[in-house]
């Protein structure tokens, strides 16, 4: 099933008041929204949390009125982006004149890059569970070989080769996929 179709089904279930569907939707997009706020716009701490919570609260309140043909992902990206820019503007108003970086309202990491990262994570979810887990722990959660070895109960000496094999499996899977070219540096 295409991502947009999965989203449409989730949104439909949320509209019917299905709390489990909402939990799933938040789980599905929490990293994405978080990345836009933190990696995209460099927000940290309370500012990042405000943007994160407000984006999901707006999504929750607006889902019933969201047009069927509106894709959830770009809509959520746009809402998060606007909220992040509002925070940056508001912070700028409190700073002495002239100290605001002129490009502060431009994403530090392109949204396209974050979109491509989400595509990769979704592709990763189709790999065998052990591959998904080890790649996520090492690259996204920044866990050490030791931590991973203990958590997965495997010898520490095998972690590097497992990561390399799983990464290659994912790379092969992604070849030919239509990810945004500019996302690959």
């Amino acid at each position: 099933m295409r991502d947009a179709d999965v989203d449409a089904l989730l949104v439909a279930r949320c509209r019917e008041g299905d709390a489990d569907a909402w939990r799933e939707l938040v789980e599905r997009y929490s990293r994405y929204v978080y990345a836009i706020a933190t990696r995209g716009f460099g927000l940290t701490g309370d500012e990042a949390e405000d943007v994160f919570q407000e984006a999901f609260t707006r999504a929750y309140l607006h889902l019933p009125g969201l047009r069927q043909d509106v894709a959830l992902r770009p809509w959520l990206a746009q809402v998060t982006r606007r909220l992040a820019i509002d925070h940056i503007r508001s912070r700028a108003r409190e700073q002495p004149e002239g100290t605001l970086e002129l490009d502060a309202q431009e994403p530090k990491l392109a949204i396209e890059q974050i979109d491509a990262a989400l595509d990769v994570h979704r592709a990763m979810a189709t790999l065998p569970e052990h591959c998904h887990e080890i790649l996520d722990r090492f690259f996204a959660r920044d866990e050490s070989y030791r931590t991973i070895a203990v958590a997965l109960d495997v010898p520490m000496g095998t972690i590097a080769s497992r990561i390399a094999r799983c990464l290659d499996k994912l790379r092969t899977h992604l070849e030919g996929k239509n990810l945004h070219d500019s996302a690959v540096r």
Partner: protein, 83 residues
């Protein structure tokens, strides 16, 4: 996408770190929050004076209604009433 390298893939995986678990749980608890605040929100929607008074000092209004004015609660009511 063609010619994607393992390094490209690794970098893209690294771009999406998990959000703090407490943030995710707070966002996931919105349906429960809605259920507990429905009455107050409906009252505000049906009475413009109550709505104006509530928006004027949300934290106090929530306190008066016996609801702890935590940030996520204040945010939810504010956004609900702004719609």
């Amino acid at each position: 996408m063609t010619d994607i390298t393992a390094t490209d893939v690794a970098n893209l995986i690294g771009e999406l770190a998990p959000a703090p678990a407490a943030w995710v749980e707070a966002a996931q608890s919105l349906p429960a929050l809605r259920a507990s605040l429905d009455e107050l929100v409906e009252l505000c929607r049906s009475d413009l004076k109550v709505r104006a008074r509530t928006l004027e000092d949300l934290e106090r209004a929530l306190g008066d209604a016996g609801v702890a004015p935590e940030p996520h609660v204040v945010r939810y009511v504010r956004l609900s009433l702004e719609r």
